[in-house]
């Protein structure tokens, strides 16, 4: 088997991966840095992010307010030391992106403009119209091209992390174009593979979002953290699941039920005003808005369509000029995919699986409990998002923690020995596994698409916006059955060249593992908090569950869940209050 070697290896080339690669290259230009991505980096799912990236920018705002919004938005499940580092470094990371050419929207005087966002008390979301992720990704990708130490492996699919002597020392990957299976060793590996939304049937996530990195790390012995916290975004287009950005509400859009009534006023989110009020009504947090939809649906006040119940997002009163200037992509997507012009018509929307708050457990420098292994972005759980992420914190998270992981990995790699020979035997074993279980496999009867659809149905009905013991147990049993049937999959494609059936099969394997982790953590958490709502345990229970879930799996696929305390620094657990005056915040000391 051919072996290649680098100092640092990135799995994934989206926002977090590219930021990490650049950070590592800047800290030590002598390092050899490999970006291994299953797609060309500019195809990464960061490209689909729309609304913006949060970071304190204006004199009326403060780091403490950003921290408090994030922590209360996360229902006190965020590690507050991580949040403090995050809000502090956010503005300089966004500024750095400006220096690299990101076309941020501007004030008339030339300074960067910011907009309101859900759950945020101040305007602090930097935006590039409603294509912020697209512009950030392309800016990072184009900028990465000027760094000589960054070597790209475009369309290489990672199948395994190589671990020896307790240290991660590289990966096995398939060069999709040629089908060659190769070991790529490295002194440090950073997992930046993004989320896992494709486990669910109705998602904003791109086809490539299969939880690859989460499964790879768990198989290598690392824990995943807080996997029960999955975000449903309240405004997805029916059928396609295409996201209509929260910015549409931040600019003043209304959520209306079938009677044209702004129903969020019935769910403890404040009173309707003609113009947007921060942390109120349509600018409440995503978990609460998606839950309100379910309740409204149960009351029979939604609109029934062939693609499920919907409510309306009404932008008509904003006018064509504002929509074209601030929300052009919303208009483009509605016209293209729904044949609706939001200038004149209301947009049908429903909650849609959007973001995984959980992920590979890391510390605040991006390091995982496995030596030599780092993670950042949606694939990781630092954790700054807690039980519910605020809109526009995730793009910034890719930058802040991508950069931190890149720097930490560079430091680690600079002082580390070359990989052991032991990992090469593992790589050969992995090559045999891929050839025998997939490429040369004959017989089998289970179609990939069938298993995938059954998995999606099982997790949606078992672990959706509201869950309970019985639905979760059903999902758990079904996933166990699907894992057994997966062994018997049927592949039509046995060729070496660009075998996307092989990669789909491997992705399904990743998704099944991650789905089991989601369900297992959700079963264990007998309380309701943020995006995790148990109908059989409707209250938050800080006595038992102010703690992160850590889920591991052994080689038989059995899972263990244990708990890790949440780090509280200056904001003791309190009530989440939206749409009304809050009690004074328990801040003990002013920072930065």
């Amino acid at each position: 088997m051919e072996i290649r070697s680098h100092d640092i290896l990135l799995v994934g080339g989206g926002g977090a991966g590219l930021r990490a690669a650049i950070a590592a290259a800047e800290i030590n230009p002598k390092l050899s840095i490999a970006v291994v991505s299953k797609v060309y980096p500019m195809r990464s799912h960061t490209v689909s992010a729309e609304g913006g990236a949060a970071g304190v920018a204006k004199p009326d705002d403060s780091l403490d307010e950003h921290a408090y919004d994030t922590i209360s938005g996360g229902d006190w499940m965020c590690d507050q030391d991580a949040v403090e580092a995050f809000v502090k470094e956010a503005p300089q990371e966004l500024l750095r992106l400006e220096r690299w050419g990101c076309p941020w929207n501007r004030e008339p005087d030339g300074h960067v403009a910011v907009r309101a966002f859900g759950g945020m008390k101040k305007k602090r979301t930097w935006f590039a119209a409603d294509k912020t992720g697209f512009h950030m990704l392309h800016t990072l990708f184009q900028t990465s091209m000027k760094y000589q130490p960054i070597i790209r492996y475009d369309e290489w699919f990672v199948t395994k992390l190589l671990v020896d002597d307790g240290r991660v020392q590289g990966v096995v990957a398939i060069d999709v174009m040629s089908g060659k299976i190769q070991a790529i060793t490295a002194k440090a590996v950073i997992v930046c593979t993004g989320g896992c939304g494709r486990i669910f049937p109705f998602t904003t996530n791109a086809n490539i979002k299969n939880g690859d990195g989460m499964a790879l790390v768990q198989r290598a012995g690392g824990p995943l953290k807080d996997m029960e916290f999955l975000q449903y975004h309240p405004t997805g287009l029916p059928f396609t699941g295409i996201l209509i950005t929260e910015a549409a509400r931040a600019e003043g859009g209304y959520m209306l039920n079938k009677d044209g009534y702004r129903y969020l006023q019935d769910y403890n989110l404040g009173k309707p005003q003609p113009t947007p009020v921060l942390r109120s009504m349509e600018l409440g947090p995503r978990d609460r808005l998606s839950q309100a939809f379910v309740k409204e649906d149960q009351k029979g006040r939604t609109i029934q369509t062939e693609y499920g119940s919907v409510v309306h997002l009404d932008l008509r009163h904003l006018g064509e000029k504002l929509i074209n200037a601030k929300l052009p992509f919303v208009r483009e997507l509605c016209m293209k995919y729904e044949n609706i012009d939001p200038v004149k018509q209301m947009i049908p929307v429903r909650p849609v699986v959007h973001y995984m708050m959980g992920g590979v457990s890391t510390d605040i420098s991006g390091a995982t409990p496995l030596r030599g292994l780092f993670a950042a972005g949606e694939a990781a759980c630092v954790s700054i998002n807690g039980a519910n992420r605020l809109g526009s914190n995730s793009l910034t998270e890719c930058l802040v923690f991508g950069a931190r992981a890149g720097r930490a990995a560079a430091e680690f790699a600079s002082g580390e020995k070359v990989p052991n020979a032991g990992v090469l035997a593992q790589a050969t074993d992995e090559q045999h596994r891929l050839v025998h279980q997939y490429l040369q496999k004959s017989g089998g009867k289970e179609r990939i698409a069938t298993l995938r659809e059954e998995m999606q149905k099982a997790v949606e009905s078992g672990a959706g916006i509201y869950r309970e013991q019985s639905t979760l147990t059903q999902a758990k049993n079904k996933l166990h059955e699907l894992q057994e049937r997966y062994i018997n999959i049927k592949l039509d494609d046995h060729s070496q060249t660009f075998n996307t059936e092989l990669t789909s099969a491997l992705e399904l394997g990743f998704m099944l593992d991650v789905a089991q982790s989601i369900v297992e953590c959700a079963l264990h958490r007998a309380e309701s908090r943020g995006a995790h709502q148990r109908t059989d345990f409707p209250e938050r229970d800080d006595q038992r569950f102010l703690a992160h879930s850590l889920v591991r799996r052994n080689s038989d696929g059995d899972m263990q869940v244990e708990y890790l305390p949440v780090k509280i620094t200056r904001w003791p657990p309190g009530e989440r209050v939206y749409g009304q005056e809050e009690k004074p915040v328990g801040v003990t000391k002013q920072a930065g």
Partner: protein, 256 residues
Amino acid sequence: MADKIVLEIARYAPEKDEKPSFQSFEVPFRKEWVVLDALNHIKDKMDGSLTYRWSCRMGVCGSCGMMVNGEPKLTCATFLSSYGNGAKVRVEPLRYFPVIRDLVTALSDFLVKLQSVKPWLIRHDDVPLSAGEYLQTPEQLDLYKQFSMCINCTLCYAACPVVGLEPTFVGPAALALAQRYNMDNRDQGAEERLGLLAHPEGIWGCTFVGECTRVCPKHVDPAGAIQQYKLKAALEWVKGFILPRGHEDAGKEVRP
């Protein structure tokens, strides 16, 4: 034929085929389906070996460009209904690119061209981050915004007859990207890029057919970008005669 549509798909597996051939698949005709949904239906239910790229299904990742009835299209943004119930629709890999397999083309050459235009902000000074952002008014942003919308889908290469005749031509998307940075008031690299691109395989290769602009799904207008660029280059060339000693500073002046 009720609620059916036939996709005639170019198939090519280099390990066994000498040349591409067409295979027909009959798929349901659904009003909400795009061509990509029909391809996924085939891959999921009929033939798992069908090979193509896709990811976001919302017209922004740029992966799923193909020739549909001879036109370069993003298949996630091309509805079956635009061809009609019972129609036959031809799906082929993007023209002028080497084919790897079925509908997948080789992109490595395009990436080299993209990188060759130095698509990053070039500065000759070193302003510390603490000095804050470079100022840019909304009007200055508007000057290059359109050229920054390229999703690298490469439809414009498949539409460009010059790319077909002269594979070394840098091509529409890469030249538009160069102009995106040239027109950005924060950039100081216009002169450097002009040196790279004022040759027959760069801007002078374009014969202004305008097909690139016509097929662009994001209205980037590469043809317009290249014409702008040619005009600046010509002015620089003329200036080289009139103001020979001022020429070193030309880069600063090519930006409006």
